[in-house]
Amino acid sequence: MNTNHPASEPQDAVLSVRALYKSFTLHSIDGRTVPSLHGVDLDVRTGEHVALAGPSGAGKSSLLRCVHRTYLPDSGSVRLRTAAGPVELTTLGDRAMARLRGREFGYVSQFLAAPPRTGPLEVVAATARRRGLDRAEARQAAAAALHRLNLDETLWDVDCGVLSGGERQRVNLAAGTVQPPRLLLLDEPVSALDPANREAALELIDSLAGQGVAVLAVFHDMDAIRQLASRVVFVRDGRIARQGTPAQMLEAAA
C-alpha cells in the first residue's frame, strides 16, 4: 500500500489507483519521452459506474490500460480487491496477472481483439470459460449475451474479421460482460453502434451495476454518461481535473 499518499483507500473500493504515472519512451525517435499520466488517484466501488471524460489524448484510455497492464505504469499503485484479498497489480508477476485478468476483471477495448478466424460464439464462450463456466454453460451464457445485444444468429460462427464495426463491437461487449467479473474496464464500448443497438448495449451496461459489478468506462458521448454513470471523472493532461455526479459535471462543462 502506498503510505506516502494522503488519500486512504475506502473499504468498499474494488479498484484503488494511487499516484499513477505513465510515459512512453520512443527509441526510434532518439528516445523521445511522451508523457501520459501524471499521478492519478482514483477509487471505484462495488456497484459504482465511474465514467472517465475529457478531451482526446488526456489519458483516459491509458489509465484503463495501465490498470489492465496492457501498459506497464512507470510508478504508482493499482490495487484490485479480489476474492483472495487485495492485490497490487503494478508489481504482480506476469503469470499471476495473466490468470487474474480473465477471472477477476475484464477489459473491453474499443476494438475487438479476437483471435483470427474465430466466430462470435466461440470468442464469447472462451471468455465465459476463463471466468469459470464449463463448456456447455459457457456456450449458453455466450448465446444469451449475443442475443441480448441483437447479434444475428447467422453471424455467430462467422469469422469476426469479416463483421462490420458495429457487429464487432457488440461481440466485444458481449465477451466483456458475459459472466461479469467484479470489475469491468470499458473503453468506448458503444462508439460504433447505431441508435437501436446502442440502446440495447447501454441497457446491458446499466444492468451490470445492479449485479454488483464495478465499472470504469470511457465514453465520448455525454448522453451515455448521463444515462449510466454514478460518478464522472474529468481527465486532462494525464491528471484528474475534477469529479462529481453527472449533473454537476455536465453543468460545469456546459
Partner: protein, 622 residues
Amino acid sequence: MSTTTYDTAQPSGIGALVAEADAGSPPAGILDEDAKREIRRACLAAVCVPGYQVPFGSREMPVARGWGSGGLQVTLGVIGADDTVKVIDQGDDAGVNATNLRRMIARTTGCGESADTREATVVQTRHRVPEEALTDRHVLVYQVPVPEPLRGVQKSVAECARMHAEGDYSAMWVSLYEDIVRNGMITASTGYPVLVGGRYVMATSPIPRWDVPRLHRAEQLNLFGAGREKRIYAVPPHTEVRPLTFDDVPFEVEHEPGGRCKFCGSDDVYLVNAGTEGAFACSDTEWCARVQAADADTAAHRERAPLALLPDPAARAGRRAAPLVRKTPADDAPAPARRTRTGGPEWALRVDGIGKVHGAGGASAVPGTGPEHGTAISPSTGAVVAAWDVSFDVAPGEALGLIGESGSGKSTVLRCVIGDEPATAGQVHLASVDDGASEVLALPPAVRRRLRIDSMAVVYQDPAAGLDLRVSAGGNIAERLTAAGWRGYHAIRRRAAELLDRVEVPLSRMDDPVHTFSGGMRQRVQIAKALATEPPVLLLDEPTTGLDASVAAGVLDLLRSLLSERDVAAVVVSHDFSVIEALTDRTLVMQTGRVVEQGLTDQLFHDPHHPYTQRLVAAARR
C-alpha cells in the same frame, strides 16, 4: 577379354604339391587354439547375456562368408572329439552343403557324425530346429544370415547399438505395426524378432516362425554365429523367449490348411512345397524318414508342435473392422498409467541460466558479447555465444513465447532444453521428474531420451525432423505410443485415429506414408504425434514457419485450440509476433543471445520498452 583354362585332369606344379602334403599329414584342425579361445569367450559372454550380440574376431573359413562361416566357427569352437555332429541345411542332412560341412567337421576334429538327432550332441543348422525333441545334451548351432533384428528399421550400426543398450525398440514395434496395417497380418517369415529374457530383442534368423516357440524355455543350448557380421549370440536353456507381438494380435506360425507330408503323412510338422501343385513334404528329412520307419515318437512330437499358434483369420487385425474414432469405453484396452502429480512446484518446466557457446572458451568467451556489444562473437576467443543466461519457467495451462530475429538464440535455447544439443551452462528442471528436484541436463542421455517420450514433446519447424516420412501417419504415432509402453494394436489404432481426427487429418490417409502428405498435413501429423502421450510440456519451434499463409493459419488455429483445451505447459519459439500473440500469455524477447525484455504478450505488443522490442513491434505492424 581373355579366358584362362586350367587343366585339372593332370595335377601338376602347386596342385601336386598340395595333394602330396594332404595325403601325408594327419587331419589338422581348421581353427588354431587362439581362434577357438576367442570363440569360446564370445560364446560364454553370449550365454551370460542372453540375446545380446557379442562381437568376436571372425576368421577366414574354408567356406565363403554367407555360407555358414559363423556357424562353422562356433561349431569348431565348442566341439570336441567325444561329440557327435549333425548338420542340417534346409532341414536336410543329405544336401551337398550339409554333407560337406559334416564331413569336414568330423575329419578335422575327430568327432563322430550322425544324421540322427538323438545321437548328435552338436547340431549345426541352417533354417530349422529338428522336429525331434532336443535335450540338455544338445547344443544347437545356427548359421545366421542377418544377426541384427533392427537392421530393417535402422541402418546405422551405432544407432542399433544404442537402441539395444537402452531397450528402445519402438522402431521395431512400428515395423510390426506397419506390417499388420499393410498386410493384415505379420508377414515376416524367417528372423521373427523375439524378446530374450525380457531384455534384448533378437533375430531368430534363420529359422521360420514355426520353430520360434522351440526356443522358449528350451532344454538345449542355442548358439547363433554370424561370420560376416562377426557376432555370436545365445539363448541358454530355460530362457524366456517371447515373440514380439501386440497383446491383441496373436503370434502365428506358418501353416497350409489341410497340408500333409506326401511321404510320411504328418500334418504337425513344418512343411515345404514338394514338386507337384498342392503337394507338401516334411522340411525335416530325418523326421520324415523315421516317421515312415515307425522310429519316431509322434505323440510326443504333436505335444511340442505349435498347433495352438496356427493362423486364425478371425482373430486378425484387418478383419475386425471396428470403428476407429467412435470409442466404446468397454473395449478400450487400458493405456499405461500416466504419472499424476501431487503437490510439487507451480511450474511444469523451469530453465535457469541456459547458455550455449559454439567454439572455444566456454563461459570465459561470454564477456564482450550480447546486445550492448552488438555481436554474438566473442572478442577474446572468436567463439559464437548463441545464447546466454536465459531463464524462465512455464506453468501447466500456460504458454510462453520466445521471440527474436533469426540468430537471436531462441531456437538454440529450445534445442538445449530438449537435449538436441548440449548446453554450455544452465539447468533445466521438469516437474514431472522427481517433482522438479532433478537437474535434467545432468541426467544420462538414455534417461533424457525417455523424457522426450512422455514428459516433454517437441514440434519442429521441419516435419522431417520429428517424423519418419517413410512410415504411415498412424505408424509415426504408434512409435511414440509403443515407446511409452502401449502394446495393444487396436488401442494404438484408436488413439492414433483419435489424434489424427483431432488435428483434422482425414482418417482415409491414416495408413499412407507421410512422405505422400503436403507440408501442412505433415505438420499436423507431427503435432498429433507430439500430443500422443499427453506430455505435460510441449515445445513448439517455429511451428508454422515454412508453410504458406493459409496453411500456416490453419495450423496456428489448431495449435491455439489444442493449447486451450489442455493443461499443457507450452513454449512457443517464433520470429513472428502474430504467432506469439495468437498462442502465448507471456513472452521473452531475445536479441543476440540474451533476453532483453519480458512481460505479458499484449503488454510487449502495446507498450514495448526495449528499443529492439519496439523495432520488432513496428515491423509486425505492416
